[in-house]
Symmetry: C2
Subunit: 496 residues, 2 copies
Amino acid sequence: MASEAYDDLLDRYERISNIRSAAGVLSWDQEVMMPDGGTPARSAQRSALSATSHELLVEEDMEETLGEAESADLTDEQAAVVREIRRQYDRAARVPTELVAEISQTTSEALPVWKEAKAEDDFETFAPVLEDLLDLKREYAEHIDSSRPPYEVLFEDYEPYLGLDTAERILDRLREELVPLIDDVGESDVELAQPFTGTFDADAQEALARDALDTLGYDWDRGRLDTAPHPFSTGTQFDARVTTRFDEEDPLGALTSTIHEFGHATYTLGLPDEEYGSPLGESRNLSVHESQSRLWENHVGRSQPFWSLFLPTIKERFSGLGDVTARDAYEAANRVYDDNLIRVEADELTYHMHIVLRFEIERALIEGDLDVREVPQAWNDKMDEYLGIRPDTDAEGCLQDIHWSHGSFGYFPTYSLGSVLAAQLYASADEAIDDLDGDIESGEFDTLHAWLTANVHSHGQRHTTPDLIEEATGEAFTADYFLDHAAEKYGALYEL
Amino acid sequence: MASEAYDDLLDRYERISNIRSAAGVLSWDQEVMMPDGGTPARSAQRSALSATSHELLVEEDMEETLGEAESADLTDEQAAVVREIRRQYDRAARVPTELVAEISQTTSEALPVWKEAKAEDDFETFAPVLEDLLDLKREYAEHIDSSRPPYEVLFEDYEPYLGLDTAERILDRLREELVPLIDDVGESDVELAQPFTGTFDADAQEALARDALDTLGYDWDRGRLDTAPHPFSTGTQFDARVTTRFDEEDPLGALTSTIHEFGHATYTLGLPDEEYGSPLGESRNLSVHESQSRLWENHVGRSQPFWSLFLPTIKERFSGLGDVTARDAYEAANRVYDDNLIRVEADELTYHMHIVLRFEIERALIEGDLDVREVPQAWNDKMDEYLGIRPDTDAEGCLQDIHWSHGSFGYFPTYSLGSVLAAQLYASADEAIDDLDGDIESGEFDTLHAWLTANVHSHGQRHTTPDLIEEATGEAFTADYFLDHAAEKYGALYEL
């Protein structure tokens, strides 16, 4: 039972959504295709699109239209649409345009400062910029909801429904249970196989990445694979693209990253075509998105059945691997690197300690419990505490990630939440599918795709995150499945 | 002495201009990169951008802002900016939004009908669609200016300042003087050399196209080369890209087309950086744009000095060309094909007859002097009259070009006007530059680039077309230079 106001709202949102996805195409092009000289025009084009979509969202009569739509007689799906547009509207309308512009301006200026500081290993030059960004984002959070702690408010930009208390509960458990597990792994005498040594030609690696996408069932009619310095996936249900990068010393790196981005793309491609331009045709949020990339990366791409299936393809692409067994490859894909300082190179276990550390530091920064100048020390101490290693430089310590220079505080936790959710979803899929391991080993991925599409992708933003998890898995969000998976898998691998 | 209204106007236009160039990136991506499945989302994104830029242009208070800016104390450059925005505003504001939407809808539907009709050689299925488009465009012209003939009004969408009378005068002279010249060429006993026979690998052709762009001075930091089914160039002064396509039987085709698109890109790249987002940073119009592509294609790329310079590079890319002389290559690049039915494959002379024919037919259609059903007969009769050949099918006759299915009536003449203008501009550059032939033969293109930038590119839309021509060449637009060039060059080649 739709109302005129509802239809009007949906029309307006469709315009906004299209402008945003147009901006996504511009970003993809900038990362993948654009010549360097194009930057000034591209920045201006992106600013114009972003300002325009913002203005359309907070148009004068939007409040009234929303109000009318909210009091109309709506189906559940329509109510979900209105709920999502209301949420976006409230956040956008409460923040003064000048502050949005100032944040945008300051982050634009912060990016090169961060790059330079990282290159020069000079935290001091980045510190004042970080201080400004923290002030601005605190002010931003204050406008949205001055009654709640600012970090809680900021976190909701990336994960609006789970709640910071849930995030904290999950991250606390990861710290409590993974630190001892990682310690045990470090003390284990087991040496996992390392069969992929030597040099692996980038072109052959690209062919292998395409093989992997073929094997997993990527829809090339709605996607493409390119290289980018920082791999990402972007697009819509009609065109969801994947990027990767190649390191000639490390063929598993590109493969894992490709499968990760495939997971993101496959979520996007599973959104319903007929809801394109509506919140029902858009992905839930960062945590759920990351659950899809991690599910494919870790639960499929790092599994024994996958390596039984895929090793012959690797042998076809590269010579000299004749003696390598599927077990060797599985071990290689699951080595725990207890001396790795870099988040994006971390394994399935230590990864979360990199996140917990950032979560604790950025939250303390935003809440005023930590001074910017204390960040390097706090970072290094926590690395020591959680992983028993200490960076020699800030470049491989607190300056390693781009996020803070973007003004993104509250983003990092969604990475771990996504991994944890991946395990919970995978356990449910495994329960529902007759022989999922067997399907994977025989290259039959339709059963998994079908389960994920039916239970996650096809809903778009119909459910809030907790409801989506409850509907898909029959229980509330929990770290149990991830921790069981970790203990079992790495216990077996390292004979703990 | 700027006014507040002027500043406001410029700000608004900058937003519009950025949204349009963002749409340009989306079009490039669609032609060059997008997977087929992406079409529905891309169409929606482009519609959203186009509707948004239209709405921003005709915003309620725009008329008032324009009026205030017009009565302010402006510099010449500022007055030019206001003139150009006024022109766009008037055309946009006079046409009802519903009609714009209907035209857009009808052309979207017409495109597949035309493709199918061309594939099936079935004009009858396209005829009713063409009829609808003609009706809609007549209505469109009527809204803009009901006091003038509709074709005159439509022509100004593509060339706003030269005037249809000038176009007609030029096209009439081309018909009068080129038809007998083409006849003479056809009767000549001279057989021009045809040294590039056999098969030419597409990858090597691509390398050669890059060589050509290097040689001519393409700025790779602000551009790139890709392949597309219908070559085009697009972008801004910061990022102007070129596309081409390869036919393994015809290496000169790709080379010529690459140089043509380079000419377009080099115009775009010559627009002033500091005027990005203003009419002063945008290209004049289609005729002037085509003059730049044709100048490089015909006056440089089909010249004797260019072939002396470039032949060794071709010999490096392809074996078996050891005996070919620069004169042979020059002849091959300038063969007149008196039996060619297809516009985009035509040589420098017969090309214009393809245009004159379309101009006469589309004008008669719009003015109601020709019925849609009579088009095939009229087309074939005119081909016979001007070129002495007759298409066997409508697919290689009146259905060959896409323009009418886009609702573009008045576009075709700008192709010939551009070629004619190219000759006039080239003659002036040749006059101004000490030894232009010598420069070209030695690969020194800076002198030509500098002249074109100073006299054409850097002005953006500061001058109207007639003023730009007058400023650059010291005289009014004339076909004299083109006809002299044609008579002299082809007279010598074919010993007339």
